[in-house]
């Protein structure tokens, strides 16, 4: 069993998410923190910048869990993609979603964390 929370992009970890993370960490329940930023809407249009937002949000959640209870098992999550600016719609399944997911997984590996990304 685990819990999953999604920050509100950009860069907001709402009270509900924070309380869930703290409760899970206290109970020793694994946490997934999954960013769902949209490049061009709730994140910068350029994907490198979007990854900065994505990563900051996930690391904020991870930090909160680790401050609450060091060693809480974490998953690094990303369902970040582009906002198709012609339609104002999240383009899940797009090339942007693919490259961002690949990059997020690579970043997670750098931290030694398992990842959970869109498109799998």
């Amino acid at each position: 069993m685990m819990i999953g929370v999604c920050p509100v992009s950009p860069l907001k970890l709402p009270m509900e998410c924070s309380e869930a993370i703290v409760s899970a960490a206290r109970a020793g329940v694994p946490c997934l923190v999954l960013s769902m930023a949209m490049a061009g809407g709730s994140a910068p249009v350029n994907l490198a910048d979007t990854l900065v937002v994505d990563k900051a949000e996930v690391l904020a959640g991870i930090t909160l869990a680790q401050l609450t209870s060091p060693g809480t098992p974490m998953l690094y999550g990303s369902s970040t993609t582009a906002m198709d600016l012609r339609l104002a719609a999240a383009s899940v399944g797009s090339p942007e979603c693919g490259v961002i997911s690949a990059a997020a997984a690579a970043i997670a590996r750098q931290y030694g964390l398992p990842s959970y990304v869109a498109g799998l």
């Binding site: 509100v8 950009p10 860069l11 907001k12 490049a39 061009g40 809407g41 709730s42 994140a43 910068p44 249009v45 350029n46 994907l47 490198a48 910048d49 990854l51 900065v52 937002v53 582009a82 198709d84 600016l85 012609r86 339609l87 719609a89 383009s91 797009s94 090339p95 942007e96 693919g98 490259v99 961002i100 990059a103």
Partner: protein, 134 residues
């Protein structure tokens, strides 16, 4: 090609063209240059803001993948617009291209050279008493 290569599906060709464009986006990876990096924008917008009205969004919006045939709208809008599946839309695009495309003519010197080769072949054929080319 389908049916062991007996039939060719123009709709499939148009779809493949779209897929290739999308794949090219992925293969291109994520560009990282000083011009593209905008940490200031992130700081300026701050938590819970939006990037829609930023100059950089306007400037770089066309770097996004922009499929012509893949429909990213929600189901209701897709249905209201006729509810055509991807292959139907691709076939219509193929028919449009076939109906309206005007092939670029060969350059004059190429036409002259081809004519010269054909005439030479005709002359050689005539010398042997064979039928002529057109």
């Amino acid at each position: 090609m389908i049916e062991s290569g007996v039939a060719f599906d123009f709709g499939q060709l148009v779809m493949d063209n779209e897929f290739a464009r999308m794949v090219r986006h992925v293969v291109g990876g994520i560009p990282v240059t000083d011009e593209l990096l905008g940490a200031d924008d992130i700081a300026q917008v701050g938590p819970f803001g939006d990037f829609l009205s930023l100059d950089s969004t306007l400037k770089f919006m066309r770097s996004q993948s922009q499929p012509k045939l893949i429909d990213r709208r929600v189901r209701e809008e897709w249905a209201a617009g006729g509810g055509k599946d991807l292959h139907q839309r691709a076939l219509e695009e193929a028919r449009r291209i076939l109906a309206t495309r005007v092939p670029e003519p060969l350059p004059d010197e190429v036409v002259r050279e081809i004519r010269r080769i054909v005439d030479a072949a005709d002359a050689a054929a005539a010398a042997l008493g064979s039928p002529q080319c057109i």
